[in-house]
Symmetry: C2
Subunit: 264 residues, 2 copies
């Protein structure tokens, strides 16, 4: 059981920021990553369609015999966790609870959340934060241009700064002290977002919080693989070329071995 | 036969710019439009995957008994026309030939082409222009941020102008006199693109050229429906809400009746 891999899926390259953190915090674990690049993105699609895609992606990983499933996509975490937990009999960790837990440490209880249309429309972050901190005021904004900006490699371009200024103005006016990066692409924009929000605002990276959450669970349940250097396998549903090229910046290293599979 | 509909498909809302032009130039025709919104976009996906999606989308329209198929997506036109023409026994019109035909009227024979990664990567515009104007110098650039900017409604925002400046600088330096808008989203950005390129550059709108091409074919072959006010039916593969909301700006009017279907 210990030697079984952790299964991680996302709509595309974004979940590699979660992968990167899991590798950093749990270097001995075997990982299997699936990016549903033939149907990316999930963030602009309906809850019904995203749930169907998430069940199919998870099904592929479960068939590989993984010991734990990480939903490294905020949109899928927002709309598909109940269906995934009902269908599959293994622990399923999404990125929203861990991010909300960290955000609930806000001192002034004024918290911003940014994400895709799907994630923001679901209201799940707000719900998760309020469950922990009932007095919190949560200000949520969808930022659809951040994903293509991150994928284009323009994270620190003047265009990214202007775009962030436009999206974040209401959150600056609301005087939040904590901003949840509710999309796995957004850690790439961290420098720009911090510059726009100012140094006093804590940026919560759901990717890092989720990896911590997995590490904690493994320690509690004695599930950690006691080896050095786990194996990492990457699968995508479209031809791997673009994933390999764009994914480097998200994983912070070369993608060694990426194979194409059919799901759904 | 005359009363059969024209079938038009695209990955999402973009092809509605082609629809708009077909309605303007051939107001008596019945239209059936399919937007593959569950799998949008096509522009960042591989030729292999886009060809599969295009065959499935076209299959749905052929099953409705359409008299002509319009591939209102530059990426699908770039990579899937041969497969579509081989599989289906009806006239198939893509958006690339009509756009190239107009571009080949360039006076200085220096022509720019902008589009998605898939369209630009295919080299099809360059090929089609050179077939008509062998001496032409063609300068092609992928502009991945234009689609999300158009969908966000930021077509005339300062962010769009800065983005266009960055992408188009090499085409300005190349002193082109004609720029092909090789993506059905780009007509929404026309004002910004003209401002950045300057008034001396002709912008070729593939949507309008394609509609003219359909009108011409109908006149030649006596296929035009001799009625006023055709019926227009819209289908999408995801929940219609977002398509209806975003599509208005592309069609230039409300979307009256949109139904969800499963394909593939």
């Amino acid at each position: 059981m210990l030697h079984r891999a952790i299964g991680i899926f996302d709509s595309g390259v974004g979940g590699l920021t979660v992968c990167k953190e899991v590798i950093r915090q749990l270097p001995g674990e075997n990982l299997i990553y699936l990016g549903d690049t033939a149907r990316v993105p999930y963030g602009t699609k309906s809850a019904q369609t995203v749930e169907r895609y998430a069940l199919e992606a998870a099904g592929f990983l479960v068939d590989q015999g993984v010991k734990l499933l990480v939903v490294a996509c905020n949109t899928a975490s927002a709309v598909a966790l109940p269906a995934l937990r009902e269908r599959y009999r293994l622990p399923v960790i999404g990125v929203i609870e861990p991010g909300a837990r960290r955000a609930a440490e806000s001192r002034n209880q004024r918290i911003g959340v940014i994400g895709t249309e799907g994630t923001i429309g679901s209201g799940r972050y707000e719900e998760a934060i309020r469950a922990l901190l009932p007095e919190a005021e949560v200000f949520s904004t969808a930022c659809p241009l951040f994903v293509p900006l991150a994928e284009e490699g323009w994270a620190e371009h003047e265009v990214a700064r202007l775009t962030a200024l436009e999206y974040l103005q209401p959150l600056i006016s609301a005087q939040i002290d904590t901003l949840v990066l509710g999309c796995t692409h957004y850690p790439l924009l961290r420098t720009t977002l911090q510059r726009v929000m100012g140094p006093g605002v804590l940026l919560v990276d759901s990717a890092a919080e989720t990896a911590s959450c997995v590490a904690e669970l493994f320690r509690e349940q004695g599930l950690e693989r006691p080896e050095h250097g786990g194996q990492r396998d990457f699968y995508v549903t479209d031809v791997p070329t673009r994933f390999e090229r764009v994914g480097r910046a998200f994983l912070g290293r070369e993608l060694s071995k990426v194979d194409q599979v059919m799901i759904g």
